[in-house]
């Protein structure tokens, strides 16, 4: 199978859906001709589809998301780009009060087929306003779907599914994965929203990890495998809806679970999954559920500080090892 980057996979998904459906259009800051967006995802699309369908906007995030909301209610399928997830702070009303709720508040009179693409995640010293992982904010708002793909194959298939979905989707890409390569089929496919993927099978412990931490978990699993610990790595891929069955089946099989993500540990998706496991798989556990999120600080700038705050393969491996020693609760 051919290999392309995560960035190319996103671009292919956009182009294919725009060719397939004339109601799909893109809007965002600097996404058009000769620039192609902050992360160069939309390079070339304006040339193919024109500036009516690949629309450069002013730096006005509320106006961007608002235009997507109004467009979605009147027959279009807007795909808005917010250059960094951190910028949702200036358009949260349009996301959480408008996109998420207009269908509900009108008693189902409208649909809201829009996608907000935005990169999150740390890893290149972008500091506290350009490196956050804010996915859990959106999980807490009924009406939104939240997608966080890790591989090029998943990002393409899920973005195509998101564009075809009738609901508002917060589609979070990871800025450190844009250059990551992976196998992506050339033929048409989508990845169903709400399906997790077992990225590596194992028998002794389940590591549920999201986005870049999937790669860290796989790296840790290699090391741990040599030490005799067989790690199963589950990637939820979509946080809302969450594929609880796949996660629970893995936990019931292994009896141990570690939850890893780049958003801060406090009230992260790991907390939600920990509660799920406690409610529905408690009797299967051989060890207390453990979480490994980012430390509860803003993301710092200097590389050693950032490295200290964000989980990595080494910390995942250390945590897993500790879960095979005498069961003790993690220090506060």
């Amino acid at each position: 199978m051919r290999t392309i980057t995560y960035r190319e996979a996103v671009r292919e998904a956009l182009a294919e859906e725009m060719r397939r459906d004339s109601s799909v259009f893109l809007l965002g800051e600097d996404i058009g001709k000769k620039f192609g967006g902050t992360n160069k995802v939309t390079v070339g699309l304006c040339e193919e589809f024109g500036d009516e369908r690949v629309r450069n906007t002013p730096i006005s995030e509320s106006a961007i998301v608002g235009a997507a909301v109004g467009g979605a209610m009147t027959g279009l399928r807007p795909v808005a780009e917010i250059g960094f997830i951190d910028f949702v702070g200036v358009c949260m009303d349009q996301i959480m009060n408008q996109a998420a709720k207009l269908r509900y508040m009108t008693g189902g009179q409208t649909k809201m087929p829009l996608v907000i693409r935005t990169p999150g995640g740390a890893g290149r010293s972008s500091a506290a306003q350009h490196a956050q992982s804010l996915e859990t904010l959106f999980c807490h708002i009924p009406g939104l779907l939240v997608i966080q793909p890790s591989s090029p194959r998943d990002v393409k298939g899920l973005l195509k599914a998101a564009i075809r979905d009738s609901n508002p989707v917060v589609f979070i890409e990871h800025k450190m994965l844009y250059n990551t390569k992976g196998e992506v089929p050339e033929e048409e496919y989508t990845v169903p929203i709400g399906s997790a993927d077992v990225k590596r099978e194992g028998a002794d412990i389940t590591v549920v990890a999201t986005q870049r931490q999937v790669y860290a978990a796989l790296e840790a699993a290699d090391v741990l495998g040599e030490e005799g610990i067989s790690v199963e790595v589950v990637d939820p891929r979509t946080l809302v809806p969450l594929d609880t069955e796949t996660i629970l089946a893995s936990v019931r099989k292994t009896g141990r679970v570690l939850l890893v993500h780049e958003s801060v540990e406090r009230c992260g998706i790991g907390a939600e999954i920990a509660a799920l496991v406690a409610e529905q798989a408690f009797d299967y556990l051989d060890y207390p559920v453990r979480r490994l999120g980012a430390r509860n600080t803003p993301v710092p700038f200097s590389p050693p500080l950032e490295d200290f705050v964000i989980p990595n393969a080494e910390r995942i491996a250390d945590t897993v090892r500790s879960m095979f020693q005498t069961a003790v609760y993690k220090d506060a």
Partner: protein, 329 residues
């Protein structure tokens, strides 16, 4: 005067009367604790809703705000379904999920009423863009208040609408107050219309208590937007007869202000105009008033006798077409 114009004037009178009587009834029901939550009355602002909607075509869109009952009725919404929604009933426009602040009939092109001040203009742009990209000549009328013009989203929206030349008519209902704060204390400019200049957008200020003046301004503005000349702003100077919400004692209103504005109450004023110019007879107008009163009473009865929604229906309409259902996971 052509028969068509006369019919249009009679429609304006009937619709303003409908809004007036419905709002008066709604306030009464609220004070009698028959309406849950809280509500914002458009009593006194009827001429704006009616003058604007009289200038719209059937495919046009409308973006309302938290004081939106009049917009819905002026756009052709049904009084009975509105009353049922206000009472939280299953038969209401939004199946009891929206209430006063979110009441809308999307089939009439109404893209929601909104509880967040200043959130409508960005959404109006989306509908305008949609009309443009789909190659229609539909336009959007976007209502907002003087208070909303201080929100960042409003300014982002006006700028984008001009940059993209969107077919949006922004209609400011300047009712002199942002909640309790009078215009002179919350706004850096004297006229909301002055703000349009910052976006190179044409604008005008009209007497918002004169339905014909509002109508004329909106006819011109709609023509401007429909012909591809881009967005335009109309500031309608009007006055809120009740407080910010029904039950607000309006203690911040200076003595004499209400009386002064009531001399320009849009409905008696238009009634007098119709009579003085022999457009309608006193009997004809009284008949309309009686018919509207009956309609409003029937609407209230319909609402009162409608059942509350099944509590389980709270789970519906969170998502659409979604095989995972509406549960939270």
């Amino acid at each position: 005067m052509t028969e068509k114009t006369r019919e249009s004037y009679i429609w304006m009178f009937r619709t303003m009367t409908r809004i007036r009587q419905a709002e008066a009834k709604v306030a009464e029901l609220y004070m009698a604790a028959e309406i849950p939550g809280f509500l914002h009355s458009s009593l006194g602002q009827e001429a704006v809703a009616v003058g604007v909607c009289a200038a719209l075509e059937s495919g046009d869109y409308l973006v309302s705000h938290h004081r939106g009952h009049g917009h819905l009725l002026a756009r052709g919404g049904r009084t009975d379904l509105m009353m049922a929604e206000l009472l939280g009933k299953e038969s209401g426009y939004c199946s009891g999920k929206g209430g006063s602040m979110h009441i809308a009939d999307v089939s009439l092109g109404i893209l929601g009423a909104n509880g967040i001040v200043g959130s409508g203009p960005p959404i109006a742009n989306g509908a305008g863009l949609s009309a443009k990209l789909r190659g229609t000549s539909d336009i959007v009328a976007c209502f907002f208040g003087d208070g909303a013009s201080n929100e960042g989203a409003f300014h982002e929206a006006l700028n984008l609408a001009k940059v993209w030349s969107l077919p949006v008519v922004y209609v400011c209902e300047n009712n002199q107050y942002a909640l309790s704060t009078p215009l002179r204390d919350h706004c850096a400019v004297e006229n909301i219309a002055d703000r349009a200049a910052a976006y190179n957008m044409p604008a005008m200020t009209v007497d918002g208590n004169d339905v014909l003046a509002v109508h004329e301004a909106c006819v011109q503005s709609a023509e401007h937007a429909r012909s591809g000349k881009g967005p335009i702003l109309i500031e309608c100077r009007t006055y809120r007869f009740l407080g910010h919400f029904v039950g607000d004692p309006f203690v911040y209103r200076p003595d004499g202000e209400e009386e002064e504005w009531k001399t320009r109450d849009p409905i008696p004023r238009f009634r007098a105009y119709l009579l003085e110019n022999d457009i309608a007879s006193k009997q004809e107008l009284e008949k309309i008033e009686a018919e509207v009163a009956e309609e409003v009473d029937e609407a209230v009865q319909f609402a009162k006798h409608s059942p509350y929604p099944d509590p389980e229906s709270a789970m519906e309409h969170v998502y659409s077409d979604w095989q995972w259902g509406n549960e939270y996971r």
